[in-house]
Symmetry: C2
Subunit: 220 residues, 2 copies
Amino acid sequence: MVKIPVLKSITEANALLADAIRARFVQQDVLVLNIIASPGAGKTTLLERTIEKLHGELRLSVIEGDPTTSLDSERIGAAGVPVVQINTDGGCHLEARMIQVALEQLDVEDADVVIIENVGNLLCPTGWDLGEDAKVVVASLPEGDDKPLKYPMAFATAQAVVINKIDLEPYLPAQASVLRQNALRINPDLAVFEVSALTGQGLEGWLGWIRTKLAKKRES
Amino acid sequence: MVKIPVLKSITEANALLADAIRARFVQQDVLVLNIIASPGAGKTTLLERTIEKLHGELRLSVIEGDPTTSLDSERIGAAGVPVVQINTDGGCHLEARMIQVALEQLDVEDADVVIIENVGNLLCPTGWDLGEDAKVVVASLPEGDDKPLKYPMAFATAQAVVINKIDLEPYLPAQASVLRQNALRINPDLAVFEVSALTGQGLEGWLGWIRTKLAKKRES
């Protein structure tokens, strides 16, 4: 008897497609990161700095998710790496089927790392697997140090948190150390980095984490 | 022949229920505001300051939307006004049916203004009418001055924008004047206020707008 696959829901179909994408990335030895954050947390600026710092060492490609514009992909294109823009037409998250289409436009065989910048939203993107190796949350310190408690899903499903805009700490009621503690309360396995993507402060830990993740993937 | 109402979609059912809620608020002469913002834009702090400043002048009630915790409603309860918490269990927006249930717990006949603090999200809440008189966007300056261009729906459907955290302007690449211009590019009818809910700077314009909206509703 032939076994007929029955897809019970959109998210189940998404998970199957994400697994197929992940299998393809394993074959190609490419590390894939899915960056999740609130609007304006500094995802694109972090990406620009990451591209600059890893230039000449690792080959990066970027998939940019945005509700309407291509403002971010223009910034990433100007930084000198291959980039594909996905506009969700107001939709609040990326899905695996969008990544599948984007990959047709992006020559990932030449890449070491593919970074997916998700739509600015701390809730919806957490439930949608895109075939990534790891989700990374960018948490902007001016948003407050209580965000892991209020939006636990993003932190529970991530492997790393980049606390951004720490250059503003002297002027804020929020503290990076409290944000770090709250993130680790939700998920003790998180790697936590404190950076200012604007000034470049603290980026080495984050870059080292990317290098280690890639090396481990290639060993296995 | 009896006309049978056919609800074509969840959002259509939501719109009908929202209209019923709005009709009830008209009868009761209550102004209802639906506050929309990214996580950590300062909605709750703005509410705390608004409650303080209008104390003894207007009777406020608050409906708090949050994905998981009751941290915000505890702050609002401590500020001394009636508050009901709606936890969306990870859901990315409030819906009219949730407001209907909340209103059973809240004695709005005694209120002049009901403020609904939506879930922290600039995308999903914009499509869901809650029976409010006006949507208000809180836009935090550290998120950048390009947010109206990247998340136009929130600004297009709002009547007012409160630019918050302007005390941080000297330390940011973003400018309040540019954020204002970008918001007005999306929606020229917006009332725009520049405030720091933390320091209290600039709140008078916002409070005056609430007073005028309430007076106009009661005149009509």
